[in-house]
Assembly symmetry: D2
C-alpha cells in the first residue's frame, strides 16, 4: 500500500490547485450573473468557455482519461486532482473537460468503442467540441436493479430500434449533448446479466424527444445541461452503433462505475475541504454572545469531527484507487462499495454542519454550501441507493473471511 | 396533562383535513403549472386566491388567532389543525390565512398594537387584503444573539428614522406585503434586553429598497413572496408607528416566538406524516430485486423509526401547547426549546429517508419531499440556530433540579 | 388522551419518592458492603430484608398488581411509581415486591392460574415469602422467534414431563426462588402460535438442575438471585400444574409482556433521571481547564439532549399505558413496540454520556452508572432484540394508514 | 505515504497471528477456569505463565519496544502486530510482554531512565521478572487537565517525599507490580507544563498503601493485576529515583502517549475483527423466522457498516504510525488526536452490534464481546476524555489551514 504521490502528480496537483484557486473560484460569481441574465439557456455560459480555453492551454485537459488518448494517469494519480476540482464543483471539472457524464462516456468509448465510433464521437468529445449524455435510469422502475430496465433495443435488419423512457440523463438538456449512450434490453430471455446492451443514439435521430428538465432540490443545473427526461419512440440507428456486443451492457456499466466512484468521492472530499475552509474563515470573523464562533465549543467539535471524517475517508478512497490500479476493479469491490456508501454520507453531514455555522446564508446561494449539499445528497442515490451496496457488502463479508 | 381534543376541535380537524385532502393537495400540480407560466411573479397565483376564497367561505380562516378577532382557539386546540395544514405546506396555510410571517405579525398587532395600528394594519391582514413581513435578521451580524442587531431606530421629533439592512424578510418580495414590522435599536446604552424596539414601516415609505430575493436550496419560494433583502435608508415614519414602548422589542419578539414554535413544529409533523403516507404508497407499488420495497427490511426499519419519532415528538409538542395554555410561555420554556430543537431535526431525517425510498424522484419536484426537506432544514436555523437553544436548555437543566 | 395523575396517584408518587430517596438510595452502599462480605450468596442480603419490611409496613407493597389482590392501580397510575423506583434499581423494586420476574409471574398466576395454583404459589409470592423465575429463553435457539423454543412438555397420564435447557432465568440462582414458570412445546404439530404451553415447576422437583449463573457484562446480579442456566431432565409434575390450557403459552407470554414493557421503560426513565441528577451534582463541583464542567458547552449539550429524550419518551410511555388501560394491549401494539425500542436505547445513550461526565469513576462501582448501563443494554435484547420489533412495527405501518 | 509491510513485518504478522490463533484464543477458557478456581488472586494465572514462556521461546517478546533493547520495530511495523494481539486482548499482549502499562513504562525508562534506573527496573521488566504500574489519575480532580494533579513530590535533602492519592493504577493490585511510576507536582509555581515530575516508587516503600481494586463494568481485571487505588503517605525515595529532571513530567507523559495510542487503537481494531469473525460464524449458523441471521438485512447492514469503519480507521492509524516514524509525534498531533477519538468509539459501536447479533449470550462471559466492550468504552476516557481532544483538534483546525 503505497499512496505516495510521484513527482508528476505533485506538479499536477500544484497546477490544478492554482487553476481552481485563481481561475475557477473567482469565476463563480461571474457564472451566477450570466445565469441570471440568460435564465432559459442550457448551454455553457461564456465564462465556462473562457475557463475551458484557459485550462486546455495550460494542459489541464482530459486528465481523467488513462491511456494515450488522455493524460495517462492511474486512478491513484488522478484522485488528488479530482479532489482539487471539487473545491469548485460547478466550474473546475467542466473547465478541464473532466466532468460527468462525459468522463464516463469517453471511457466507455475508449475501452469498448470501435475505431469508427471513436472517430465519430470520442474524438470530438476529447476535443470538447460536443458533449454527451448517459441514458440509464428509467422513471417507471427501480433502476438500482438493472434487470428492471425496460427500454427495448430490437434488432431489425441492419438497424437497431430503441423504445423507452429515460430520465436523469445528465447534460442532455444542452443542445451540445450530441450523443446519448443508451442502456436497454436486447434479449429479455437471456441470463440476468446478459439481457442489456448499450447503444449510441445521436440526439438528432428521429423519435428522440427531450421532454423536460428535472431539478435537484430547487437546482436545475442549467449551467451543466441539466438532467433530462427523454422519450425514445422507435428510434432507428445503424447496427454499428451498438457498443461491444449484444448482452455486454451490464458489464460495460460495471466497468464504467469503478473510476466514476473514485472521481465522485474525491470531488466530494474536495467540496468538504472547501466547506471547512469557508467555515474557518466565517468562524474566525463572526461574533455571537461575546466570542467568535471559532471559540464556541460546538463549532470546534464539528470541525474536528469533519476533519476526522475527511482524513479517514480520503485514505480509503486512495486505497481503493491503488487497488484498482494494482489488482483491478473486481478485487477492489469491497472498497468501491465502501467509498460509495461512506463518502457522500459523510460529506453531506460536513456540509450540513457548515450550513449551520453559516446560518441563513448557508442555505442561500450566497455560499456554495447548499448547492454542494444537494450534489452530495444525490450521490447517495446515484448508481443505486446506498442500501443496495450496503446489503451486498454485508452479504459478501458474511460469506468470506477476509 | 390532558391532551384530549374537545368536540369543537375534533370537528375542525375533520374539516381542515378534508380541505387539505380535497382542495389543497389536488391544487399542488396546478400551482406548479401557474408558477412555470409566470416565472417573474412574486404574488399569490390564481389557484391560491381560489383556495383562499374557498377556505374563508368554509370558515377555515384565521384559525391560528386566539381571542375574539380570530377563532379563539387555544394552542392545544390549534395544534392538530396546524399539523393538518403541514400536509400541503405550500398551499394549506396560506389558503387559510394561517401562514407565517403573517400569523406572527397579526399576533403582535393583536397583543401589542394600538387601536389605530390595528385598524390600519391588523384588520386588512385579517381580511386577507394585504400581507406583511417581519424584518429581524441582518446579514452582517449573528442574529441569534439579539443584542447584535445593528439596525438603528432613532427618535427625531414626531418621527422615528430607521436605518439598516435586513434579510430573510419572508414574504417581502410580494408587492402585496404592504407592511413591515422592523426590529432595531432605539437605545444602544440600555440594558441588554431593553435596547431594541419594533416599529411599523409601510412598504412604500421613502428609503425602503427591496434589494433581491434569497433562495433556500435553490427554491425561491416565489409563490409565497419569497425571502427579501431590504435596505432601510433613513426611512422616516410617524412616532405612532412604534409598537408598544421603546425597549419592548426583545420582549415582543419572545412573545411572538412561543406560538410560532408550536405552529412550525406541528406543520413539520404534518409534513412528516405526508412523507410517510407517500412512502407507504411508493413502497407497496415499487419492486426491486423481486420484492416490493415494503418487503425490504431497511424500508421497514426507516418507517418504524420515523413513526416512533413522530409519535413521541407530537406528544411533546402537545404538552408544550398545553403548558403554554395553562401556565404560560415562561413556564413552558424548557419544552418550547425542546421542540424547537427536536422536531425539525427529526422531520429532516424522516424526509431524508423518504427521499431515499423515492430514489431520484425524491430530490426532484415530482414529489414534494425535497422542498419539504429544505423547509425543515431552515427551521433548524430560524429564530436562532438549534445550538443556542440547546446550550440554554442544558444550562438551565444543570442549574435547577426539575 | 388524559395523562393527569389523580389524587391517589399523586400521594403515592410522593410516598414512593420519599421511600426511594430516604431509604433505598442510602442503603446502596450498605448493600455493597454486605455483598463484599458474602460473595457466595445468591439470596437477598439483610439490608434488602429490612427495606422490604419497611416498605410493606408503609403500604408500598405489590403496587404493580391490578385488581383486588394488588393495589388495583391502572397502568397509567402505576407508571410514575415504577419511574420513581428506577432511581435505585437494585433496591427499590425488590423492596416494594415490585421486581421482575416476580411481577410478571404474579400477573400470570392472577390472570390465568386456578384457585389452587393461586393458593399454592401466588399467595406466598404476594406475601414475599417465596420468589420465582420465568424460564423462556433457550441457549440453543434464537428465542426471539417463539416457535423456535425446543423444550418439550409431554403429557403422560396425570402428569406432564418436561425436558429441555433454559437460560437467563432471572432470580433462579436464589434458593428462595421456589417456583419456575416454564414455557415449552406441548404440540409441535399445532398451528404456529398454539404449540407452546406454560407450566409450573417447583424448584425441588426431581430432574431440575440449576447449572450456573450468567453474568451481564461483569455483573452477576447476585443480590437479586442472578440469571441461571437450568436443565430440566424428564421433570415430572402433576397435570394440574399446567397454566390455562395446552397451546395457550404464546398468548399468556404476550399478555405478560405489555405491562412488563411499561414497568421496564418507566424504571429505565427513572435511571436516566437519577443519572441526570448525578451529572448535575458532578458537573457543578468538578473543575477542568478553569471552569466547572457545568460551564463546558459539551456537557450542556449532553444534558439538554438527554432532557429532550426523557421528556418525549416519558410521554410516549404514558400514552402507551393510557391506551392499554382504555382500549387494551392489542390496540396499543404500535406504542408498546415503540417504547420497547426507543426507551432502552435512549437511556443507554444518556447513561453513556453520564459516564463520560464522570470519567473513570463512571465505569466503576463508585457510581451506579455502569451497572445501570448494563441493565439498559440488556433491555435492548430482552423479549426479543429490538430489530424484531422494529421490523414488525414497520411492516404494520406500511400496511395500514393510521 | 507508504504503508506497505516489509518482509520482516510480514513474517512477524504470520507468526503473531499463528500464536494468537493457536495458543492464545484456545487458552481463553482455561484462563476462565483458573480464574474461577482462584477468585482472590491478582497475579498471572498458570496459563498466562505458560503462554509467556512459549512466546518468549518463539521470539515474540518485547516487540513493542524500538531500539536495541526491544525488537527495533517502527510504529508502522509494530501496528499490525498490535492488531493481531487485539483478537485475544486478555492473553496475547501479556503473553508477549506487550501489555499496558508495562509497555509505556518500559518506553519511559528506555528513553528517559538513567543507566542505573534501567539496570534496576527496565531489565527485569524486559525479562518479564517483574511488572509495573503508572500512577497518574487522581480521584479528587479532573485529571484530563494535567495541571489539576495534586500529588506532591517534595525534595528533602537527598530524597523526594511523595504524598497523594492515585487511582486507576492499572496492574498495581498484583504483588508482582514491583515498581510504580508516579506523576506529581514538584513546583506548583512553575509554568503550567513544568510543574510536574515523574518518579520511581518501589511498591514496598514505606507509606505506600494499595487501598482497593476498581472494577470496569463489573470486571475487576483480576487476571491482569486490576486497577488500584493507592495512597502515598509521605513516601520517601532517593533523589536518584526522579526520571529525567524536575518539571519534565508533562513532557514525558506526552512522549509516552503517542505510541500508546497506536497500540491501543490497533488492538481495538483487532477486537473489532475478532467480533466480526464471531458474528460471521454466529450469523451463518443461527436461524430466526425461517432464515439464518446472515440472510437478515439488518445483520448485513451492521456488518457492512462495521467493515467500512474498520477499513477506514485502520488506514488512519497506519498513517499516524507512519507520520510518527517519519516526521515525529508533534507533527502527527492531529492524527494522534483523531485516532484517539475515532477508533474506540467505532469499536464500541461494532461491539454493541455484535452483542445484538449474539443476543443474551453477547452480554455474558460465554462470548468475549461484553468484556471487550468495557475495554473499548474505557479508552474513550483514558488519557483524557475524547471531548478534550476533540476540542483541541477543532481549535487547531480553525486556526491553521492544512
Amino acid at each position: 500500500m503505497d499512496f505516495s504521490h510521484d513527482a508528476r502528480t505533485l506538479a499536477l496537483i500544484d497546477r490544478v490547485e492554482a487553476f481552481v484557486r485563481d481561475r475557477a473560484i473567482p469565476a463563480e460569481p461571474v457564472l451566477d450573473e450570466q445565469l441570471a441574465a440568460t435564465p432559459d439557456e442550457w448551454r455553457f455560459r461564456p465564462v465556462v468557455g473562457e475557463l475551458r480555453t484557459a485550462a486546455r492551454a495550460e494542459g489541464l485537459w482530459n486528465l481523467f482519461l488513462p491511456g494515450e488518448r488522455g493524460a495517462g494517469l492511474t486512478n491513484l494519480q488522478y484522485a488528488p486532482l479530482a479532489e482539487a476540482t471539487g473545491w469548485s464543483p460547478r466550474l473546475a471539472p467542466v473547465a478541464m473537460n473532466c466532468a460527468a457524464p462525459d468522463t464516463g462516456n469517453m471511457e466507455v468509448l475508449a475501452d469498448f468503442g470501435t475505431p469508427e465510433q471513436q472517430r465519430e464521437w470520442l474524438d470530438p468529445l476529447l476535443a470538447g467540441d460536443i458533449r454527451s449524455s448517459f441514458c440509464m435510469t428509467e422513471p417507471e422502475v427501480a433502476s438500482s436493479d438493472a434487470t428492471n430496465i425496460a427500454t427495448r433495443i430490437r434488432r431489425d435488419g441492419d438497424s437497431y430500434v430503441i423504445s423507452g423512457r429515460k430520465w436523469w440523463s445528465t447534460g442532455a438538456m444542452s443542445p451540445d449533448a450530441a450523443i446519448f449512450i443508451v442502456m436497454g434490453q436486447t434479449d429479455p430471455d437471456a441470463a440476468r446479466h446478459r439481457r442489456q446492451s448499450m447503444i449510441l443514439v445521436p440526439r438528432d435521430a428521429p423519435g428522440v424527444t427531450v421532454v423536460r428538465g428535472l431539478s435537484v432540490f430547487g437546482y436545475d443545473d442549467r449551467d451543466h445541461g441539466g438532467h433530462a427526461e427523454i422519450v425514445f419512440d422507435d428510434v432507428r440507428v445503424p447496427a454499428s452503433n451498438l457498443i461491444a456486443g449484444e448482452g455486454d451492457g451490464f458489464a460495460i456499466a460495471q466497468a464504467r462505475l469503478g473510476p466514476g466512484r473514485i472521481h465522485h468521492c474525491m470531488r466530494a472530499l474536495g467540496m468538504a475541504e472547501r466547506a471547512l475552509s469557508l467555515v474557518r474563515e466565517r468562524a474566525n470573523s463572526r461574533v455571537a454572545f461575546g466570542r467568535t464562533l471559532a471559540e464556541q465549543g460546538v463549532v470546534r467539535e464539528w470541525v474536528a469531527e469533519s476533519r476526522i471524517q475527511v482524513e479517514s475517508l480520503r485514505l480509503l478512497v486512495l486505497k481503493t484507487a491503488w487497488l484498482m490500479d494494482t489488482v483491478g476493479n473486481r478485487q477492489a469491490m469491497t472498497e468501491i462499495q465502501s467509498i460509495k456508501i461512506a463518502v457522500p454520507r459523510a460529506v453531506q453531514q460536513i456540509l450540513d454542519r457548515a450550513i449551520q455555522v453559516f446560518g441563513a446564508a448557508g442555505v442561500s446561494s450566497d455560499a456554495p454550501l447548499a448547492e454542494m449539499f444537494a450534489g452530495a445528497r444525490v450521490l447517495r442515490l446515484a448508481d443505486g441507493p446506498d442500501e443496495v451496496h450496503l446489503s451486498a457488502l454485508g452479504k459478501a463479508e458474511l460469506r468470506t473471511p477476509r
